[in-house]
């Protein structure tokens, strides 16, 4: 009998109930909120469901030494986490992004590329703010990249510069990407006049197959020569796009843009979520990161919209750009382009901005990868 009681006591010690702390419960609630937002509100469900469930997995109270936790070497979760820690999941996601991205809108109106550049102000604005609130340059660089609105890029850069902040930065980046429809419209309205919101842009011209094939090749060569440190992201992005546009590697493009990106997205979501263990995540720094992350999205939106307004001063009548597509310079594809369409149609139901907004939107993907390369070059 004594033996049974002793064994039961030992078993109890290994259960989550015996090891639970308030931090675990808070994180479990946060995980459930993520899942709720994904299922009920459909906010980026592809990301928030795996991240939310990952948070639940990562915050089950464990008896140390069982070799099941994500930070315990040799555990299955730890092995899966290596893709995040060593940064090889993000380039694979970029391969998939390249394979599903259509750069036609950008090629047909190349000046929209510059809007994608302007929105990167968010990254460097957030970098300056992060320095001002006491983060060191490596941490500030990682936090700043949230403003690029690109989850894989944020993971890639943070894994190299400030791995301790990976959970907070990744969750922040993905959460704000889900909140793009909430954050951006007020800033867009604030910065534009009614007349500007009604600007009609020329429909995009048809783009030849040759141009579509040349774009990933020339784009890669230029970007990689200027910012070689962005090679893993840029290389994979443009390779994915070439697979799509070449027309002779349909199977590879389908795999990269379908099953591969899905598998990696699940693994990234799960492991990033699981890496937010209460003792690593519930810190004052995380709250600061979330606050700066929100600001970075606002600065990026401001940068994009304001740049278009300035740019319009130099463009002829008929060639002007609707500033409502300036917000799409961040690389939340296609969420921010949808926001442009949504806000545009509120003022003119027949003005469809979606295709125009896709130009800066995909330019934002390139811009954020280049920005990550630059930050890595300066600090890494």
């Amino acid at each position: 009998m004594e033996n049974i009681i002793s064994n039961l006591k030992t078993f109890w010690m290994f259960t989550g109930f015996a090891n639970v702390q308030w931090g675990h419960l808070v994180m479990i609630v946060i995980g459930c909120i993520f899942i709720y937002l994904a299922v009920k509100k459909e906010w980026e469900p592809m990301l928030l469901v795996p991240i939310g469930f990952g948070i639940l997995i990562g915050n089950i109270p464990l008896f140390a030494g069982m070799e099941v936790g994500i930070y315990e070497e040799g555990s299955v979760l730890n092995i899966l986490y290596q893709g995040v820690r060593l940064g090889f999941y993000p380039p694979l996601i970029f391969l998939g992004i390249g394979a599903i991205t259509d750069f036609s809108a950008l090629i047909s109106n190349p000046k929209l590329i510059l809007v994608g550049a302007a929105a990167q102000f968010g990254i460097f604005g957030a970098y300056a703010i992060a320095l001002a609130v006491g983060f060191d340059p490596l941490q500030a660089g990682s936090i700043g990249i949230i403003g690029g609105a690109d989850g894989p890029t944020a993971i890639f850069l943070t894994s190299r510069l400030a791995p301790d902040l990976l959970g907070a930065i990744a969750v922040s980046a993905y959460s704000y990407m889900a909140l793009v429809p909430v954050i951006q419209p007020p800033i867009m309205r604030l910065l534009t006049t009614k007349k500007e919101r009604l600007i009609r842009m020329k429909p995009p011209r048809p783009v030849a197959q040759t141009e579509k094939i040349l774009f990933p090749i020339i784009g890669f060569l230029i970007m990689a020569f200027i910012v070689p440190s962005g090679l893993p992201l840029l290389g994979m992005l443009f390779l994915g796009n070439l697979l799509k546009e070449s027309g002779v590697t349909k199977r590879l493009a389908t795999t990269a843009g379908g099953p591969l990106i899905d598998v990696v997205t699940i693994l990234v979501g799960l492991t990033v979520g699981a890496s937010t263990q209460a003792d690593h995540f519930l810190r004052l720094d995380s709250i600061k990161i979330f606050a700066i992350g929100a600001l970075s999205f606002m600065i990026a939106t401001f940068g994009g919209v304001f740049f278009v307004k300035i740019f319009n001063l130099f463009l002829k009548e008929g060639n002007k750009i609707n500033p409502l597509i300036g917000n799409a310079g961040i690389s939340a594809v296609p969420a921010s382009a949808r926001v442009s369409q949504m806000v545009g149609r509120q003022y003119d139901r027949t003005n469809h901005l979606l295709m125009h907004a896709m130009g800066p939107n995909v330019a934002g993907v390139i811009g954020s990868a280049v920005a990550a390369g630059i930050v890595l070059g300066f600090l890494g």
Binding site: A117, G125, D136, P203, M223, V375
Partner: protein, 305 residues
């Protein structure tokens, strides 16, 4: 004719290879040296002697075999580095140490002069004539104090000492400046405490990169439109100035997109309710993995001879 062409190709190929080899050796640099070694790095024999560090500044492997090290500008072939030895193949951005102990019989990396009596160190190409790099030997350095390039492989090669300086500590077989993340970020914090410099520089680079892309694709687009118009004009027998692209209104694109979405998507072609059987016909394309289904249902037929 074909034969001559082949011989020409071989000659060109060999020339290029020889040129590339010569060019590789040119990438070697004298990177650091220590004259008075009393308490520093030891050789395989447990001896402390003067040493010279060479650095492969290129991104390809360089074979040093056949090159020369000397301290006498009038006798460039003083110490021939043995060829055909795998250890003289220096990997990209890697270092190698030569012991200046005047005891060459001790191995490839022990040379036939010492630095205490040398005025200059000269590295010579395998042709025995071309000087790759040279640097005067400073005798005023204290014991265990080395002289080296402030950044590996960077600086002059004509002996004027530009880019050279006294090292804070000796760094044999490793980088003269250990650039780790912390040092880089600390420097950045000192140089740019508020992040404005980083913001300006980075945004300039991003704009520059994307402006180049914009210019290239602007002209590729123009060229493409011109070619398209030419083709249309030739087909219709018109002048190129008469050909215009039809610009469809946005609504038309939206209507086409919606039609495609409805046609391809799950909007109207499937039942949405649970537990309701779909009676729509499904066309299965042939797959070797499911071929039995078709093979077994088919009535056997005799093959025609």
């Amino acid at each position: 004719m074909k034969r001559i062409f082949k011989i020409f190709l071989v000659v060109v190929g060999l020339s290029v290879a020889l040129y590339a080899n010569g060019q590789n050796q040119s990438s070697m640099r004298i990177n650091e040296y220590l004259v008075f070694n009393t308490d520093d790095y030891q050789d395989d024999f447990g001896q402390q002697s003067s040493w010279i560090e060479l650095f492969n500044s290129s991104y390809g492997t360089v074979d040093l075999g056949g090159c020369y090290l000397t301290d006498d500008p009038n006798y460039l072939k003083k110490y021939p580095i043995p060829g055909g030895d795998v250890v003289t193949a220096i990997k990209p951005r890697q270092h190698v140490i030569f012991w200046a102990d005047n005891q060459p019989y001790r191995g490839t990396f022990h040379i036939s002069f010492d630095l205490e009596n040398a005025k200059e160190i000269i590295l010579v190409k395998s042709d025995g004539e071309t000087i790759i790099d040279r640097i005067p030997v400073h005798k005023d350095l204290g014991e265990n104090v080395s002289f080296g390039r402030l950044n590996d492989g960077v600086g002059s090669t004509n002996g004027d000492g530009e880019g050279w300086g006294i090292m804070e500590r000796t760094t044999p077989s490793t980088n003269n400046v250990t650039i780790d993340k912390t040092i880089k970020s600390t420097r950045m914090q000192e140089m740019d405490p508020y992040g404005w410099m980083m913001a300006v520089l980075a945004m300039t680079i991003i704009f520059l990169a994307l402006i180049i892309l914009y210019i290239i694709f602007k002209y590729i687009g123009k060229y493409n439109i011109k070619q398209g118009k030419k083709r249309v004009a030739a087909k219709a027998g018109k002048d190129i100035s008469e050909v215009q692209y039809d610009e469809l209104p946005g609504e038309t694109y939206a209507a086409i997109a919606m039609a495609l979405y409805l046609y391809k998507g799950d909007v109207e072609s499937h039942d949405e309710e649970s537990y309701v059987m779909t009676l729509q016909h499904t066309d299965r394309s042939y797959s070797p993995w499911s071929s039995k289904i078709y093979g077994l249902r088919r009535i056997p037929q005799l093959r025609k001879k």
